[in-house]
C-alpha cells in the first residue's frame, strides 16, 4: 500500500499552498488537477524529486477515486 499525504495551508488572504507527498509520477498530477479545480487558479507549481520516481500503482485508480460527482 502507498501512503499519499497532502498538506494544505490556507493563508489569511485565502491563497492556498498545497504540498503533495508520497504520490509519485503522474499520480501527483492527478492530485494537483483535482485540487486546482476545487480551489481556483494555479499561480505556481513546482514538481519535486518524488514526481520523477516510478509509480507504484496505476494512475487510473487515483483518477477514478478523485473524480468529482456530478
Amino acid at each position: 500500500m502507498a501512503q499519499h499525504e497532502v498538506e494544505i495551508t490556507i493563508s489569511k488572504t485565502g491563497e492556498v499552498k498545497v504540498h503533495i507527498k508520497g504520490a509519485k509520477g503522474k499520480n501527483c498530477l492527478v492530485y494537483s488537477k483535482w485540487l486546482s479545480e476545487l480551489v481556483g487558479k494555479v499561480k505556481d507549481q513546482q514538481l519535486t524529486s518524488e514526481y520523477y520516481e516510478p509509480e507504484i500503482k496505476a494512475r487510473i485508480d487515483v483518477e477514478q477515486d478523485l473524480r468529482t460527482e456530478e
Partner: protein, 156 residues
Amino acid sequence: MGAVLILTPIIIGSWPVITAAVAGAASAMGLMVSESVKEAAKESQSDTEQSVEVELADSEVLAESMATDQQIVLTKGTIQLCVKRDERGRCSVCAKGTGHSEAELKQIAEEFTQKLTQCFVYDKVVRELKNKEFQVVNEEVMEDESIRIHVRRWMD
C-alpha cells in the same frame, strides 16, 4: 516530495453557501449579524457617514435560490458591513460608519473579504476531503492566521 502548488481561490457558490462563509468570517472578526437587517439596510446615510465598497474580484454568487436585493448586514460598534451580490453577480462588501475615515473602512472591508475567502475555501476543501475519505492527521491555526490541514490516504 511530489509537488508544491500555489492556488488563487475563485469564489463561486450559491447564496446559502456564501452566507455560511460570511457567518464564519463574521464570527472570527467579532462582527454581529444584525437582527434588524431590513431596518439597518434602509437607514439613510447621514452627512458624516463614510462609505466604502470592496468587491471580491474572482467571485460569482449564483442567483438561484436568492431573492432580489438579498443581503447580510453585519455590525461591530459603529461600523456596518453589508454583504451582497452586485449587478455583475460578484460578491461585494460595503463598509460604512460615522466617525471612521475612508481608509479605516476600506481596511476593515478588505480584512473581511480576506477572511470570507479563507472561510469559503476552508469549508469547500474540508467538505471535499471528507467526501474523498481522507484521514485528517492534523489541523491547526498558525500564528500568521493561516489554517494548515494535514491529511493522508492509503492506496492499494
